[in-house]
Symmetry: C2
Subunit: 490 residues, 2 copies
């Protein structure tokens, strides 16, 4: 048999299989609401069904698609199910998937302006759009001293912000001399774990992260922040960074930026604001209160890949002073030098992020915003908030359940009155049923169920069914008595 | 007019537009060789053509696709062109694009095993496949103490490795106390800029990065490394990390792992090996010499998104001791706790990387390996190496050009004999022509042209045409004389 001249999939074959994959996705969108939300598999089950070695000879694409359906799909937890209420959402949409497809097909690597000018300039434009669309302070737009960039996640955005803060506080000497052991960072006890991770990575050390107490709404207490900064200064430390959150992960608490900001200004601290999920709400004027005081922020991020119908990954990170960020992260080996960069007339986004390479993520974001329009985005955000509020009202009216935190937007924190152990069992049972998925947290030491409304297709019927499932499951559990089901393993 | 009930793209619309996008990509694959490789646009040109504000009302997808073709495509530098020889490649392929499409359609976020078991277990399996496929040391497989994970890039892999090294060297105290200012890291003068970036990010400081001299093959000199470590120890510093490279970016130099490894072992230094592009060559047994001594490495990475037909991003990062990595990067907020994690029976890849979230990148890698088979991958890698060797032979035989570095694999470093200024103009002119794209570096202070053969569709005719273009352009430039074209701006 003759040796094949190549093993590539031809454009014609790609067309055929591409249509098959598109059809698969369209069918998945239709049926995802009927699939068990959480994968019903034991650890190691998928692994055991996959061959131990790579194939020596190529296989027909049909076999790959069949294995995808038969081996992989049963191990998927369906984030796109309208019955998914866990964590924060990571929703997607048709236009976003199409943008990701085109980005993969083009296969450009946008590390420099020169390596694909459109990849950079579209990103600049779309991030500027978002400044206006969310009513963000104008200094985050590229026209002045600031600008926006797409990161993979809010974790990476926080790390970049912390690094720029570290450098600014040390006259850009930490990059050169090593991290100053006296630097101190601040966040609330409710801040996302990525802040702690960033503090470790950047070499400040966890002991130099002060977790500031929150009030009864789970918002950082500015008085405590100011007091702690004063104590640190008195002890000869160098406060450099405050991470505030607009919409904490546990309970959707909102740190009071308008009061935190002046404290940061007074002491020259970098204020980073993490609006990972909730930031999207600001497309609606009535929710812009979440950003009150954002004009004090040196940096801000929110994730279209959470609540803005843009598939993961897509975090939008804005800085007020792009030079501080660029000076912190820039490297310039000879092999990346080019005329455009040296002209000073272009943005090279590789200097705005941790990795060097980057794909063309602005494309999907552009498609999403243009497909929905501001009007469409507002419609769906309002709808999700309305549904969460309705669910919260049911909890309030229920004799058996109670709310454990305010419900400012689309996250409801609640519990059955029967106590932590009961709630653990309730969560476990509803999730195992596959009918819905929700997650938990601890609030004031209390085991708390979290229901977040934000998946693309989630509508009234799904939230209503979630409420029915929760009540019925709770009733069954109560009927079984405390010992019948045995203690839940947490 | 009635208010629409929703603004989503329906599955049926998605199917129609998905087919259109697939057809666009297939057509792009057919025509990309005829497009100017580099975008022929001035800075700001694309930006100026994009509206300054987001649309209030949604737009038909047809308009988006038209704008993509008319506004974006002219600003694209075509990395997938067979005439692209710049940097290191970032190739893609049909099966990879299809895998990315399915990942986007599923929209799962694989931060935890529990958030989609198949996303984690497929990744574990495919990374284990690669250990065997590349003949990597068995301790990088998940069956023992090690394991592999997909990162976005070799930059992030290097940062993770450095962080683990930092922690191991300080008894996991830097995370807690802040980076120890005495820690020292080592790499060659030819190491990728990401090592310097990682050293800054991790808080060691650039002054604590020792760039070790290389030999005439641009390989790190182990004697110099050993000497520098001894000096640092004598001065009371704490050497902790060596980054070796198998296939440097400038010239494809290979650091001698078999001699560096014992030095690292002797002093307890973490040895990280960066095989970003060249690692893929190890699918061919005759190229496995590049990894001789890799058994000494604590960590290793290579990028299927460079030379293994997998679209960006996909870096495979392996560690010999996964516990060191996990202990370095793990965080555990209550809202991520789950039974599977606490059983200790599963991998949660969020603890193997900087960000928390992650998309289902194993899918495209699985598709690529199964589509090509080991046989197909070997075929194309051999072909690329053969073509580069042929080009190198033409350079060697040419009276006007000369090689400036050995050509071990698929990267050729060369220059015209007429000197740096001439070569600058030569590079500028061939790139501006749009007929091909190559980049440059400095080797021993000399301006050097780099031609790397690694794009999916690059074959004999494209390399031959590149050689013709270079010779003809050089002849024209020579005929114009030194002043005719004026000095090139670099």
């Amino acid at each position: 048999m003759a040796q094949p001249t190549h093993y590539h999939m031809s454009p014609e074959e790609f067309r055929v299989w591409g249509h098959a994959v598109v059809d698969w996705i369209a069918a998945y969108q239709r049926r995802v609401d009927s699939l068990p939300v959480t994968a019903q598999v034991e650890p190691g089950r998928i692994l055991a069904r996959l061959p131990r070695t790579a194939p020596e000879r190529g296989e027909p694409f049909r076999a790959l698609l069949e294995d995808f359906e038969n081996l992989i799909l049963p191990g998927i937890t369906h984030w796109q199910s309208p019955h998914f209420f866990g964590y924060f959402p990571a929703n997607n949409s048709g236009p976003s998937i199409l943008g990701e497809m085109l980005a993969a097909g083009l296969g450009v690597q946008g590390m420099l302006w020169a390596t694909s000018p459109a990849c950079t300039e579209l990103e600049t434009r779309v991030l500027d759009w978002l400044v206006e669309l969310l009513g963000l302070p104008a200094h985050f737009a590229s026209g002045g001293t600031g600008g926006g960039v797409i990161q993979d996640s809010a974790s990476s955005a926080a790390l970049c912000a912390l690094l720029a803060a570290r450098e600014r506080a040390t006259g850009f000497q930490s990059n050169e001399q090593g991290c100053d052991g006296n630097l101190v960072a601040y966040a609330s006890t409710q801040a996302h774990s990525s802040i702690e991770k960033a503090v470790k990575i950047a070499g400040l050390g966890r002991r130099n992260l002060r977790l500031i107490e929150v009030d009864e709404r789970f918002a950082l207490r500015p008085d405590r922040l100011a007091g702690q900064i004063e104590r640190d200064l008195a002890e000869g430390r160098k406060p450099c960074f405050v991470a505030a959150t607009v919409g904490t992960t546990s309970s959707n608490g909102f740190d009071p930026l308008a009061r935190i900001g002046p404290i940061c200004r007074q002491h020259g601290l970098w204020l980073h604001v993490d609006g990972a999920m909730s930031g999207t709400a600001a497309v609606c004027p009535e929710f812009r209160w979440i950003h009150a005081g954002l004009e004090f922020a040196d940096s801000y991020c929110f994730n279209p890949h959470k609540w803005m119908f843009t598939n993961f990954d897509c975090d939008c990170f804005f800085v007020a002073d792009r030079q501080a960020l660029i000076r912190t992260l820039s490297i310039l080996p000879e092999y990346l030098r080019n005329q455009a960069s040296e002209s000073g007339r272009v943005i090279d986004y590789r200097d705005w992020q941790i990795p060097l390479g980057r794909r063309f993520r602005a494309l999907k974001l552009w498609f999403v915003i243009r497909h929905y329009g501001a009007e469409g985005l507002r419609h769906h955000i309002r709808r999700h908030v309305e549904l969460a509020q309705r669910f919260a009202a049911w909890i309030r009216e229920s004799p058996d359940f109670l709310l454990l935190a305010p419900v400012p937007l689309n996250l409801v924190c609640f519990a059955h009155k029967a106590g932590d152990e009961f709630n653990r069992r309730l969560l476990d049972r509803v999730n195992r049923s596959g009918a819905m998925f929700l997650t938990h947290t601890l609030l004031n030491g209390r085991y708390t169920l979290r229901l977040c409304v934000g998946q693309t297709q989630t509508d009234e019927e799904h939230v209503a069914r979630a409420w029915d499932t929760l009540r019925q499951t709770a009733a069954s559990l109560a009927a079984e008595g405390p010992t019948a089901a045995g203690p839940a393993t947490k």
